[in-house]
């Protein structure tokens, strides 16, 4: 009996220092697990924890196990500030997150004062990287980068008279303005520029006015529910002008709302989802994700959280032990294969590399990634 208890005691004692020594890299993830963006946050958590498991299964980084500390920001700036403080006091080395520019902004200064690296994932507002914060990065594109790409896509498509429509949200308006600048420079005429009220059902008055302006392309920069209604009511009017959108329309419900017939031919620009890509990284990740969760990731922003982890993992593998060393390493990063394309950051912390692609909707209502 005594021998047994001694054995057990020795076993426990020998285990204690082992676990302590193994769990010595902590990475924080801040995401909306509750609230209106909960589905994004759940996906973010699923993706990052899957990648962390993979790292640890391969023996960790330099023999050290990675521990993920997850905090819920509820998609709300005030909760985000609390979450950032909790992560800072949990002793993490870097923080991934979060979704929503305003939410990310609420956590920026707290994490910067705690001298932590932060990699935003669904935070596209231009000003986030214009503040001179040395440890802030983001894996998502900026709104103006999307505007430039959208403008280029319109010019390359040979359209001559474009109608720009936004919904007065800072994201959609910014994208529309950026696109207008590109189009003005390229000499493409913007025949219509106005905003609709989001959350309504009837956009026929707007479409009637649009039709009078006779554009050869409508670019609506807002979100998928309104896009779906516009497509559906445009079809009902018997008006066959092509329509395009930004990355806020990258949601399968768009086709549900508009119906496959009305959405056929619609195209939008967005960073690609792994299931649409043929890089080995994307394929390997998708397989692991499907094995574990029996579904595919629906949100591209959650995949960008996976990219943020990839970048942090890269920095740790390269021997960055402090947040300043990690920030310095990230700033020189170029062309690292990520889940949504190549990863790299510029001096401001914005992502560089190609990740915008054109998707179009086929006759069956499926999103098809177009070849570059």
């Amino acid at each position: 009996m005594q021998i047994w208890s001694r054995c057990v005691a020795i076993l426990f004692l020998s285990l204690l220092p082992l676990t302590a020594a193994a769990a010595d890299v902590k990475v924080g993830l801040m995401c909306p697990l509750t609230g209106k963006w909960a589905s994004e946050g759940q996906d973010m958590k699923n993706i990052v924890s899957l990648l962390v498991e993979n790292t640890n299964a391969k023996g960790g980084i330099g023999g050290k196990t990675v521990t993920l500390v997850v905090e819920d920001d509820a998609g709300d700036p005030r909760t985000a500030a609390l979450a950032a403080q909790k992560l800072a006091s949990a002793g993490v080395l870097a923080v991934i997150g979060t979704y929503g520019s305003a939410v990310t902004e609420a956590s920026q200064n707290i994490l910067d004062e705690a001298e932590l690296v932060q990699i935003g994932t669904g935070s596209t507002s231009v000003r986030l990287t214009e503040k001179g914060l040395q440890r802030f990065f983001r894996t998502c594109p900026r709104d103006d980068a999307q505007g430039r790409y959208a403008g280029a896509a319109i010019v390359n498509g040979g359209y001559k008279a474009v109608a720009l429509l936004h919904d007065n949200s800072s994201y959609a308006k910014g994208l529309a303005e950026e696109t207008r600048m590109v189009l003005d420079k390229a000499g493409v005429k913007v025949v219509f520029y106005d905003a609709l009220t989001p959350g309504e059902r009837d956009y026929t008055a707007i479409l009637t006015k649009l039709k009078a302006a006779a554009p050869d392309l409508i670019f609506f920069t807002g979100y998928y529910p309104e896009t779906g209604m516009l497509l559906r009511q445009k079809k009902e009017m018997g008006w066959n002008v092509p329509m395009m959108g930004g990355d806020a329309s990258n949601h399968q419900d768009l086709v549900k709302i508009a119906g496959p017939e009305a959405s056929s031919g619609y195209f939008f620009i967005s960073p690609p989802l792994p299931q649409d890509m043929d890089t080995p990284e994307a394929k390997a990740f998708l397989e692991a994700f499907q094995n574990k969760y029996k579904t595919v990731p629906v949100s591209v922003w959650a995949v960008l959280a996976g990219d943020a982890y990839k970048a942090i993992e890269g920095a740790l593998s390269a021997g960055a032990q402090t947040s300043d060393a990690m920030a310095a390493w990230l700033k020189q990063l170029k062309d690292m294969p990520g889940l949504s394309g190549t990863l790299g950051f510029d001096a401001k912390g914005d992502r560089v590399g190609e990740f915008y692609r054109v998707y179009s909707v086929n006759d069956k209502g499926e999103f098809v990634l177009q070849p570059r």
Partner: protein, 301 residues
Amino acid sequence: MEQFLQQLLNGLAVGGIYALVALGYTMVYGVMKLINFAHGDIFTIGAYLGLTLLVSCNIAGMLGPVGALLAVFVMVALLTALVGYLLERVAYRPLRNAGRLSAVVSALGASIFFQNAVMLIYGARFYVYPDFLRPDFTVHLLGLNVPGVRLLVIGATVALMLALSAFIQRTRTGAAIRAVAIDPGAAQLMGINVDRVISLVFLIGPGLGGAAGLMVGIYYGQIDFTMGWSYGLKAFTAAILGGIGNIPGAMLGGLLLGVIEALAAGYVAMAWKDAIAFMVLILILIIRPTGILGERTAEKL
């Protein structure tokens, strides 16, 4: 000219829905002097109940598209009428003799309760009505292409409004409703059961609101749990525009608001559509503080 007619028609279709919802606000205000803030959410419930009946109960499979539309229409109106009746019993009747403010707070509470109940039951994502039910034909009218479903929506709203007018103006029960609206105390002395009249109003108003929710679901296809808020706000505005408490006023106000919105969007700027609609409301209220048709007209029963 063609564009003007098209915008007019766009406005009438939207305005018809506003008018149907506005009737619920105005009837309740007429008899109880209470703004039933939960009315917009009853509209949402109508849309969701319609979807549930169509999808889960497979009514279309049993009755065919046309029969299913009619059956679901009646069922949704009855069910939302029941919800309205229960709402009155639970949230308003106990406060009948309390101050008006208590009843308004109770109405706001009921609205929050309904909205969150719908979200918890159905979830926060968008739902889409099955497509096969939408009448799929186009009518050529004065050089315009008019989707048939739009004509049906306008037709159904007009029919419902005419039926309601006839009921209020021509029947004994309608006269009782008008009497309670003018003076509940005197009506009671004349042998009218005021409680029953109020219950009746809470059956008719929500029934119409629920039917409007179903029509929005069928016409626009997409529903979500917050839809009652924007429609409720607009319908409430329409009721005030026409003169709250006044039934023809709600119809006129709804149609007018829809047309003003469509013309403002078409000829001024879409972003200013709501601002212009509310500016017109303010101007009308400055000139006629009780709305276009007045709060109530003196009448002989």
